[in-house]
Symmetry: C2
Subunit: 505 residues, 2 copies
């Protein structure tokens, strides 16, 4: 009739559906000690075993170390040794350093991939067909967060590489040896994965504050020698440039930002990656000082150049989903105005708000752009995957002024085409194209064209630039493809906006 120590009238109607107290949990010193450090396990193999990972499950990773990632291949080796097969590999992106994933696909360990992009051997091999049993699902950064929220992409186990964490799993990317800075992509995995395994180089004293990945999302912790090589974060896409052509494009793009109608005190900007795009940041500082205009905030992949503007007082806040170099990574620690946003907060169309929707100006790159201003940042002119969707379509959907920068011609191949090989960002979200041969404005933004012309910027048409490119290069040969679908391009809302066909060999 009555429960613990006569206090709980278990048959009272007021307690219907409730469980009576069963007595306090064992609470000896040994019990309390055992509760501590229970998350830290001895090896990756032990973590995988304890996670319950099985055939056909999804494993996820972040790509904050970019070309310096050392974790995916370590995990795949252990997974294979345990005999687990048919996995979905869901990394926020994949890079040239992941070429050895090919072997794991060939041996049946990996059979599906979700990623923002691919480069190098892995990308080329998959693009030629006949390797991966199912097409790669290519998503944007915001789209990945939305796929996780919708449940299509729910990792069984997220393996998140961090430089340091405490024994409860409080982690950031700004302490320890191999610091990657922001953990913006990883935060989404930490939220949605069934089991979160932190793979760390060091377990430090509790509490490892400020914590970005929080203890209440972490199940297991493994210490390995190295999770990543931060010196390789800015290899590849995020390089700075000394190429005079890139610098010319960057200067013109800066002119467009200055005169496009949104260069007013408090404006916001994302400058993206790619040689010319990052160079814009440096030029922008000069214009801001000259004109006495300060930016309210900058978003996205944050570079050392952007940190410099922040530290000079020219950019009020930095919202960092991904630190593009070591300067940015270390700035997070010392600059209170430089904070992390998760990929969900950054760009998810499924979130209650995404920063991209507050953006004034974004500078984006392109592998191809067509006469409708549609942009391809995934496949090269040879039809092989070689880039990444990234935040391209996310920021283009949100920003008030979307400026694409690209050289008109790359190794005798025009960047402007009649129809992009692969569609990532619809042209209705692209406003201006800046090339080394001239600037053109999407006809749906006449006011922008007028402002640029009024500032003395020579504005041409994309058709004229296309004609100029053909004059120089001739019309490029079409890429021959087979029927095999090797990639499915997901728009940020999860819908299929294009497919990638295998390149005929």
């Amino acid at each position: 009739m009555s429960g613990w120590q006569g206090r709980v009238p278990t048959d009272a109607v007021e307690l219907a559906g409730l469980v009576p107290f069963a007595g306090p949990a064992p609470s000896t010193q040994a019990d309390k000690d055992a509760r501590r450090a229970r998350k830290v396990v001895g090896s990756l193999t032990e973590a995988i075993s304890r996670s319950g990972l099985g055939d056909g499950d999804t494993i996820s990773f972040h790509h904050h170390f970019r070309e310096g990632d050392l974790l995916i291949l370590q995990v795949l080796a252990e997974v294979e040794a345990l005999g687990i097969r048919g996995l979905t590999l869901a990394s926020s992106s994949l890079n040239a350093c992941h070429g050895d994933v090919v072997g794991y696909i060939e041996r049946g360990v990996v059979s599906r991939i979700y990623t923002s992009g691919m480069r190098g051997t892995l990308a080329a091999r998959i693009s030629r067909g006949g390797l991966l049993p199912h097409p790669v699902q290519v998503h944007s950064h915001g789209g990945r967060a939305a796929l996780m929220a919708s449940g299509e992409l729910r990792p069984k186990v997220a393996f998140l590489g961090v430089s340091a964490c405490d024994e409860f799993g409080n982690a950031n990317g700004t302490s320890g040896a191999s610091r990657c800075g922001s953990l913006g992509y990883a935060l989404v995995d930490a939220m949605f994965a069934e089991t979160v395994v932190l793979v760390t180089e060091q377990v430090v004293a509790f509490p490892n504050t400020p914590a970005v990945i929080r203890q209440n999302r972490v199940d297991l912790i493994v210490v390995v020698e190295r999770v990543g090589d931060p010196s390789r974060i800015n290899v590849g896409a995020t390089r700075t440039t000394t190429n005079p052509r890139d610098l010319l494009v960057a200067r013109r793009a800066t002119d467009v930002v200055e005169h496009g109608g949104f260069f007013v005190d408090g404006f916001s900007i994302q400058t993206g990656s790619g040689g010319a795009a990052t160079a814009v940041t440096d030029y922008l500082g000069e214009r801001m000082e000259r004109r006495g205009v300060k930016a309210g905030w900058a978003l996205g992949g944050i570079t050392g150049s952007m940190v410099a503007l922040h530290e000079r007082g020219l950019v009020g806040r930095l919202l960092d989903v991904q630190s593009f170099d070591l300067v940015a990574a270390s700035s997070l620690e010392r600059n209170p105005g430089h904070t992390i946003v998760s990929a969900s907060e950054y760009a998810s169309p499924a979130a209650k708000a995404a920063c991209v929707d507050e953006l004034d100006v974004v500078i984006l790159s392109a592998l191809e752009i067509d006469l409708d201003y549609n942009v391809n940042v995934l496949t090269g002119s040879d039809g092989l995957m070689m880039g990444a969707s990234g935040g391209h379509c996310d920021t283009a959907a949100g920003a008030k002024l979307v400026v694409v920068v690209a050289p008109l011609i790359r190794t005798r191949i025009p960047t402007i085409v009649e129809r992009v090989t692969t569609l990532i960002t619809p042209g209705s979200n692209v406003d201006v194209l800046v090339t080394d041969y001239g600037v053109c404005v999407n006809p749906r933004r006449p006011a922008v064209a007028e402002r640029l012309a009024a500032a003395g910027i020579k504005v041409t048409t994309i058709e004229a630039l296309f004609a100029r490119a053909l004059e120089i290069c001739g019309r490029p040969r079409a890429v021959e493809t087979t029927d095999e679908i090797v990639g499915v391009v997901r728009y940020r809302d999860g819908s299929v906006i294009d497919v990638v066909r295998a390149v005929a060999s």
Copy 2:
């Protein structure tokens, strides 16, 4: 056969189950402008209407302003005006300032309550029975997070008062006028409520970083004149004391901390609220300097005294679920070692880790403690509810050394009783009782008793202290209760550990 612009082969087996792109969303300047500021609505009434709140739903609040809360009554007035009835009021706690909730109960607007505790008129009226149709569910701070995680407590609408936020809903308690500091309890509501309404005194420029409540959890924003009076945060439970008896107890408790076995470099501590408990913090600083011992971190409700220890370098980190005064609230802004933890991270038994499990020492108060060391912090000697469960049973379950401080006698009523009126924390989780008449140690911790004795601290038994109290006061009259259950006390794991019966009038 094929979707958007001929790119998507909708009948391909590889696309089974996926949705083809339907064309880009409208993306004119007006559309983009409309997306901004869509969350900010003109009035509380409008926010309530747009939230879809209906009869029988649950509305939730945080109590970071403690006795200065101005929000609950504002919302109830608007809810009543809209004719909504039968609500569950789920505030992380309720205080004496909420006396007018009685009227809303009488008029049928509120029919259930979840709270950590109650004080004043509301508590007295409910305790006398016949008012609230269902018993109050009394939970701990960690238990509330667990009830939300389990789904028993899922607010339809959380109304979260903040001093300032941006138009997307990025908020913290450290900017704007009425700053409450930590938003640790509110973070749980922001995570679990179906609709999150920020009630703010000010909308500031985006991005309001560092953001504690994040934009991607916020649905609606309402500006009101005042959400809370921060000068009343430290009224009541968290007052500092000049009472010589409290100071005596505090000094003795500090002796116990110093010699109880856990006063070593890097130790951790929570000193809780209540006059004597907060005074311990000041004494502790002297002992730490004298002995050359530094604490690694302090947890819980953070006071100005604890901030002073942090700023003197005596406490490494502050983990703040609730700022107990304005000094603590402002410290969050300037001290990088002082960070916020959510109630889940603080103490939830359902979370993957709770800070309380890493705690070495906790100082707790008691309204009653019985011969089995069971503690009551909810009901007074008159049987009326007058306190709060708070983090009492959470920290007692986690900490290595649990020290309860209390005067032996309050207004001629002994604090030590044969059996506590209401059980909040089981005695098996309580180690030491410090009173103004002596110190006793739970027999299940003989090693602690030996250490204290070895340090020259006179240790007596709880039976001896009980006898002394009876000598002075005589045996108090038993409280007469009716059969009506007015409160259900939930242990941190959600189980029912006791009930509160109505006091017979």
